[in-house]
Amino acid sequence: EDQVTQSPEALRLQEGESSSLNCSYTVSGLRGLFWYRQDPGKGPEFLFTLYSAGEEKEKERLKATLTKKESFLHITAPKPEDSATYLCAVQASKSNYQLIWGAGTKLIIKP
């Protein structure tokens, strides 16, 4: 069964304290892995797409990496405005339309 698991469920960091969020997946053929950010009371906002193992994408303090079993979202020297829930989703090769979503990691950055 295709599945996406994110860990930890919640992460509290001090401002400037770097860390990583994990997204492990089981899917029969990966077409793409997506990272989204969701602020309270809002819809998810797209961050990155990764397509193949070894690929990396960066945006400001965020860097996403991909292996054959998992993806990491590395956060370097985070600021309070990075606080949000980060969602991971995968698209299987057998599906043209649907994504399989993880439950998300709630990140809190304390000043």
């Binding site: 996406v4 009371g41 819809g43 797409t49 339309y97 649907q98």
Partner: protein, 115 residues
């Protein structure tokens, strides 16, 4: 461009009442989706559409119906609301063209409470 908009933002229903949620997008996207989001769970796909006049069931379609009469609009209906349908509902859209990112664009959500 407004992107993806949803109406209403909040709604409270009594068990057995019906309602329709409206999603509109101005990006000329072919694909549209309805999700529900519950605490501790990932987004779950209710129904989706790959073009005007076509719809398909997702992961949790029971108790919901949809229609896509116009390309820019995707309606989600609850015929007889149940407390288990209390949730936050998100609409999303995506282009069918091969693009570098293929991301889905989301609306702001509708928070529905069924008493």
């Amino acid at each position: 461009n407004a992107g993806v908009t949803q109406t209403p933002k909040f709604r409270v229903l009594k068990t057995g009442q019906s309602m329709t949620l409206l999603c509109a997008q101005d990006m000329n996207h072919e694909y549209m989706y309805w999700y529900r989001q519950d605490p501790g769970m990932g987004l779950r796909l209710i129904h989706y559409s790959v073009g005007e006049g076509t719809t398909a069931k997702g992961e949790v379609p029971d108790g919901y119906n949809v229609s896509r009469l116009k390309k820019q609009n995707f309606l989600l209906g609850l015929e007889s609301a149940a407390p288990s349908q209390t949730s936050v509902y998100f609409c999303a859209s995506r282009t069918s063209r091969l693009a570098e990112y293929n991301e889905q664009f989301f609306g702001p959500g509708t928070r529905l409470t069924v008493l």
